[in-house]
């Protein structure tokens, strides 16, 4: 494969697409699939055949279109019309009306802020291409960044582009990716590895799953670019076993890329070789921590170890290892293709580019969104998210999963970037964004996350193993109305201790949900403690009276 071959495939594919006057895209990512979009697709295909429109209409299964709450989604082209909540029975009508007036009853207005306010970089192909065909990806410009790098750029030039782009790790901590890559590149040793962290453990986050299901080749291309830049020849994709569809599509994608000579030995006739293998996670949140993830790939229990040495110096089997999250790798190809300066033009001064969020919880439009860094939280919740359903009151947005915090109503106008979120006592995290209304009790939410940390603590270091259990017990006592006034200072002290002395990120950040709820919703804690009642009516505080009696 040389650049000309790639262009040929792309041209042939585009030519083939031109013969179709109409396109019908059906979402076949996990969200819509669980609402039987596969049956919708079969019905549409059957209708196209029955009505003799095979020559002018192409039905295509595509990745996530974002608005999961309105699924199954179907998009009809060339003038894009989006249909929502489509059932197989709607198929005849949809096919009949191709090129005529769209079916009003099913229409989802395409000028919704949900669509118009997004800026798509990572998700640019989601909903446009068939994730199970490499030709579709190539026709959309795929793998051209890899070939460009291999034929025109030296590895340091690739890293330079990244540094210029200002991209920071999308896994949550926000470490500058350019620095990470150059550290690995500078580390000595013949054997280096690239690892893609697809162990998306945060409850409430499903960005990585959607990217892997909708555009798997983009992640592989990013990994290959990483391998070229740092001098690695072997990569591992560490995926949760809970995502069977993503695993299946990744396997297909790896096979296709190998067959085209875009992965494997001597890629495109150059000296560069890169093999990718998939490793399955087995349901351990702590394996999102990089050293624990490496232990897990080595076949051990996923327990973290102290850093330094960082994986960039000594990682998998003691070799320098580049480890990035799915979304980070998904950003690489566009940066190399379009240049670092283009990317640096999006976002805020310190947080560049876009961020994919999984919007969920008590909000009208749930689903996957991608927005430029620096958009205000209010715009995300009310404009894109469509506000809170059933006329309820907004209470908080939870970001960053069990390591993050809650942002109350009076901070809705803050800009969403790494620094502002940190200042507000939360973190960017991997991108879960859960909206809560008045029916959620914040003490109960804190207890929920602490229970999570408690059961996910790997048990290696004591502050985390014992501390999370004790904090959970205290929080539970509060929710049961059995706490006294001394409980809250005690809880606070314990939080400080666990934060300061835990070994890895899981323990160090586990008090965050408590900190932020105590900071913004102390009145709710006090109501539980002093009056023995739960303002949101979630907690069962009957125990309070019994304890007092």
């Amino acid at each position: 494969m040389v650049p000309e071959d790639l262009r040929e495939i792309a041209a042939a594919e585009q030519e083939a697409n031109k013969q179709y006057e109409h396109t019908v895209h059906v979402c076949v990512a996990a969200g819509c699939l669980s609402l039987q979009s596969d049956k919708v697709k079969t019905a549409l295909e059957a209708q196209v055949k029955e009505q003799g429109k095979e020559d002018c209409c192409k039905v295509r299964g595509v990745g996530c279109m974002g608005l999961c709450s309105a699924g199954p989604l179907v998009k009809v082209g060339p003038d894009p019309v989006m249909y929502r909540d489509v059932t197989p029975e709607d198929a005849p009508e949809i096919v009949q009306n191709l090129g005529k007036d769209p079916v009003k009853r099913l229409m989802c207005p395409s000028d919704l802020p949900f669509f118009s306010r997004q800026v798509k970089v990572v998700l640019e192909n989601c909903g446009e291409i068939d994730p199970e065909r490499i030709e579709d990806y190539i026709a959309a410009g795929g793998y051209s960044a890899l070939l460009k790098a291999l034929t025109e750029m030296t590895p340091p030039e690739v890293i330079d582009e990244l540094t210029k782009s200002g991209i920071r790790g999308r896994g949550g901590a926000g470490f500058p990716t350019g620095i990470k890559w150059s550290t690995v590149a500078k580390s000595g040793g013949d054997q280096k590895y690239v690892i893609c962290n697809a162990d998306e453990g945060d409850p409430g986050a499903f960005m990585d799953r959607s990217v892997l299901e909708s555009d798997p080749h983009r992640v592989l291309e990013g990994m290959a670019l990483g391998a070229y830049a740092v001098g690695a020849n072997q990569g591992y994709l560490y995926v949760r076993a809970e995502y069977p569809l993503a695993i299946k599509r990744l396997r297909t994608a790896i096979r296709q890329a190998e067959r085209q000579g875009l992965l494997g030995s001597n890629i495109c006739g150059t000296q560069f070789s890169f093999h990718v293998d998939i490793r399955l996670g087995a349901g351990a949140f702590v394996c999102g921590e990089e050293t624990a993830l490496i232990a897990s790939i080595e076949g051990k229990r996923g327990t973290p170890r102290p850093r330094p040495p960082f994986p960039a110096v000594s990682g998998l089997w003691g070799c320098p290892t580049l480890i990035n999250n799915v979304e980070t790798f998904a950003n690489i190809a566009p940066i190399v293709r379009r240049g670092g300066e283009w990317y640096a033009g999006i976002g805020t001064e310190k947080s560049k580019g876009t961020k994919v969020f999984a919007l969920a919880g008590r909000v009208e439009n749930t689903g996957l969104i991608e927005v430029p860094m620096g958009m205000s939280l209010r715009d995300i919740v009310y404009d894109i998210g469509g506000g809170i359903p059933e006329g309820k009151q907004y209470k908080a947005v939870q970001t960053g999963g069990p390591s993050g915090g809650c942002i109350p109503a009076d901070q809705l106008d803050m800009s969403v970037d790494y620094e502002s979120l940190f200042k507000a006592g939360s973190i960017m995290g991997s991108g879960g964004m859960i909206v809560m209304d008045e029916t959620s009790c914040m003490v109960d939410v804190a207890r929920f996350f602490m229970e999570f940390c408690m059961s996910e603590s790997c048990g290696k270091c004591i502050p985390c193993r014992v501390g999370t259990a004790q904090m959970h017990d205290l929080l539970e006592a509060i929710t049961l109305g059995q706490a006294t006034e001394e409980t809250i200072p005690m809880l606070q002290e314990l939080c400080d201790l666990v934060k300061a002395t835990s070994l890895c990120g899981l323990g160090q950040t586990s008090p965050n949900p408590v900190y932020s709820t105590l900071r913004y919703f102390k009145d709710e804690y006090m109501a539980h403690v002093l009056e023995g009642k739960c303002p949101a009516g979630v907690c069962d505080t009957k125990g309070a009276k019994e304890a007092a009696a």
Partner: protein, 145 residues
């Protein structure tokens, strides 16, 4: 089936394959795997118990996995758990006495857009109220087959 080169780092991959084939990991399977890969049995057992995905007990005829992710939690997952307990006297992680239904919880299914979500015998149920989900479970486990 065990073509991972019989190296010790293939332990997790191998356990996945075993669980996929037999539904759970019993002592014989663990002994066999650890002997094949030359991993101490204690280490194999340690790995099998460390990861939530592996199960050391056989499952019931039907399984219902309830998502307890944040989004599902605030949209009613606890009611599903309570409802299952009331209906079949089964708590998360347990199987009913007659071996018909196992109830498990998941940290997050990644279907938060559809909260509350549950997986019944491999089929994801989304956008349903807790009561709907309970009806489906009832139908499948006690009337269907």
């Amino acid at each position: 089936m065990r073509r991972h080169g019989h190296k010790s780092h293939a332990l997790i991959e191998t356990l996945h394959t075993v669980q996929e084939s037999f539904g759970y990991l019993d002592e014989d399977a663990l002994r066999y795997v650890s002997a094949c890969l030359r991993v101490p049995l204690s280490k194999a057992y340690g790995v099998a118990t460390f990861y939530h995905f592996f199960s050391l007990k056989p499952q019931g005829k039907h399984t219902c996995v309830v998502c307890m992710g944040t989004a599902c939690y605030i949209k009613g997952a606890p009611q599903i758990i309570a409802g299952l307990d009331a209906m079949a006297q089964v708590k998360p992680g347990e199987t009913t006495e007659d071996g018909v239904l196992s109830v498990l919880t998941a940290r997050c299914l990644g279907s938060c857009g559809l909260a509350p979500a549950a997986v019944l015998d491999g089929e994801v149920l989304g956008k349903m109220s807790p009561a709907d989900i309970l009806d489906r479970v009832k139908e499948m486990a006690y009337n269907g087959s």
